[in-house]
Symmetry: C2
Subunit: 225 residues, 2 copies
């Protein structure tokens, strides 16, 4: 069951079975529906979460109410780790994009585990480093690429993580509205819609509600660069 998902999570990958089971037992589990919020930006809280099933979005809101998504996370990915090591309130709001379930661990319990278990520490460092590298890539994309390019890149990333290959193309059930997709790439819904319509008219993909079928990965990749 969901122990398998946890074992795949980078945080746990270096643990042996016994240690993983023990750590698992000190984590509590929760379950939410699409649209429900796990915590808000600005909340206090120091729990670390791992997605067991479903998808969530990490978002922040600007002063005038506009929203920007930092990431879409799926099974095995963790979040909330910023508040663990960088003291302060939650830096993002986490909302379920689908029904979803989570395992969570408190700051204190995690710290206990870190002592004497350098491999867990190392796993966390690896995870943070990877997130930082990705964040830097996002910055570069915002500076260098236009909206269609960023949309193409986002679709390819989602395909990579959630896509299923079939004979008519790669089916990507991203579960995002175009509004959410727009917030993810930092653009307006209308502009993203036009980019998608353009890709579809070229035969690169087919649009379906909350999902796309990518028919020409090659050209889409070229457009992303």
């Amino acid at each position: 069951m969901d122990n398998d998902v946890l074992r795949q999570a980078p945080l746990f990958s270096a643990l042996d079975d016994e240690a993983a089971t023990a750590l698992r037992s000190s984590m509590s589990e929760s379950r939410l529906r699409r649209g429900e919020v796990l915590f808000h930006e600005g909340d206090s809280g120091d729990k670390l979460y791992v997605v067991l099933d479903g998808k969530v979005k990490l978002g922040r809101t600007s002063g005038d109410g506009r929203e920007n998504l930092l990431a879409i996370l799926g099974p095995g990915q963790m979040f909330g780790e910023l508040s663990l090591f960088d003291p302060g309130p939650r830096s993002a709001t986490v909302t379920c994009v689908t029904d979803a379930s989570f395992a969570s661990l408190s700051h204190d319990d995690l710290l206990k585990w870190l002592e004497g278990r350098p491999m867990v520490s190392h796993g966390l460092l690896t995870q943070l480093a990877s997130r930082l590298r990705k964040a830097n890539d996002v910055v570069a994309d915002l500076v260098f690429s236009d909206v269609p390019g960023r949309v193409a890149k986002a679709l390819l990333d989602l395909a990579d993580r959630f896509g299923r290959t079939a004979d008519d193309g790669v089916h990507v059930h991203h579960d995002l509205t175009q509004e959410e997709l727009a917030q993810l790439v930092g653009a307006s819904r209308e502009t993203v819609n036009k980019a998608l319509a353009d890709f579809a008219s070229r035969g690169w993909l087919r649009l379906e509600p909350r999902s796309v079928v990518i028919m020409d990965i090659e050209r889409l990749s070229r457009r992303a660069r």
Copy 2:
């Protein structure tokens, strides 16, 4: 001497004197001039660096040769830590903005230190978490703020780290050309120049070569939001 700078570095802050001195002895030192490059994006290498003196810029180059600066780092700040935990080539080019000196540590030596010294691990995690939070802030700024707003924010950040308060305002010797400042905020040199000229004409600051004097922090802060 430069041991003081190292002791202030977050990486070392949790160590006692004895441990810090020992770690210091396993680090080697180097010195470069303005404009010289420490390593290039794409290079292999797994050394961690700490700036002892001077300033460096972390930059990446897009496919068509345009450049984008991720950060300006000064004394006590570290870089190169991504290649330590996220295997792969250097993700950015590091160039000296002023003459500068560094202490460096190899991957293997660092790993030895991490074993049995959870506080060092914790220091690294804190540092990475803080960097990640900043990267997310940069993303939000790119999405939500216009160029003048980003310029104002960059100036305030530089003032915070490198500024000296005098009776006629805060003197910020950032050592950056307007071209570099533009790359830092992800805009063209011309647009940044016009933003600066506008701020100056309003009496918020005074422009000097490779530095500014901020006379009205209050209004500049308001413009940054």
